[in-house]
């Protein structure tokens, strides 16, 4: 199953489960906002989206990951708007029989997300000014 959502506000994480009997791996990735950007201290990142297309692309990408890798579920939430340092901007949860396919799917999904999903971000400096954020890691 796929769940993909763009949210404007703090992310409500997908719950962990103890009831699954066929999935040996539950992978959770939380992308969080670092305190520095290009060596400068920042207070937050501000994300903007192409409304409609961003969630559609995220959903399509999740479905492609499900077809490409032998995983059972991929759940994803991406936050937009102002995200303070330390907070989560991207939350991904993948369930699979073994860890390897889950790890491979997670890596591929996040790499493709950074190439295709129309979301952009600016770093907000401590003096309130904004600079482009260019992290591609």
């Amino acid at each position: 199953m796929v769940k993909a959502e763009i949210v404007n506000g703090p992310i409500d994480f997908f719950p962990s489960e103890d009831s699954r009997q066929q999935d040996g791996a539950e992978l959770i990735f939380n992308g969080r906002v670092r305190a520095t950007e290009h060596g400068e201290n920042i207070t937050a990142l501000e994300y903007e989206q192409y409304e409609g297309m961003a969630e559609a692309e995220l959903t399509q990408l999740a479905e492609e990951a499900m077809n490409k890798f032998p995983i059972h579920d991929l759940f994803c939430k991406h936050r937009i708007g102002k995200v303070d340092v330390g907070e989560t901007s991207l939350h991904v949860s993948i369930w699979s029989k073994h860890r390897r396919e889950g790890l491979d799917a997670m890596d591929w999904f996040i790499l493709e997300l950074k190439k295709r999903v129309p979301i952009w971000k600016w770093a907000i400096l401590q003096n309130g000014s904004r600079i482009p954020s260019e992290c591609n890691h």
Binding site: G52, A56, L90, I110, P118, W120, C135
Partner: protein, 81 residues
């Protein structure tokens, strides 16, 4: 004539100073011709910036013919995550 809406994001919005453009073109105009027009309007501020084309919220090849009522966005490098 056809009517086109161009939605502007990130560097494109910064370069043009506007969120949405409502434009009219001759029938048969392509997305690449529209991109040339947009880059010209940006007065060099989009030089060196690669743009992918989204037509009605889906990525399309460069040479796609525009239709009346289309929504177009020129997508600068994305930065999600």
């Amino acid at each position: 004539m056809i009517k086109i809406t161009v939605k502007c994001f990130s560097q494109v919005r910064y370069a043009l100073g506007i969120d949405i453009l409502n434009l009219e073109f001759e029938s048969g105009t392509s997305t690449s011709q529209l991109e040339k027009f947009i880059r010209g309007k940006a007065n060099g501020k989009l030089d060196g910036i690669s743009l992918r084309i989204a037509l009605n919220q889906k990525y399309v090849p460069d040479e796609t013919e525009l239709q009346d009522g289309d929504e177009v966005a020129f997508i600068p490098p994305v930065q999600g995550g």
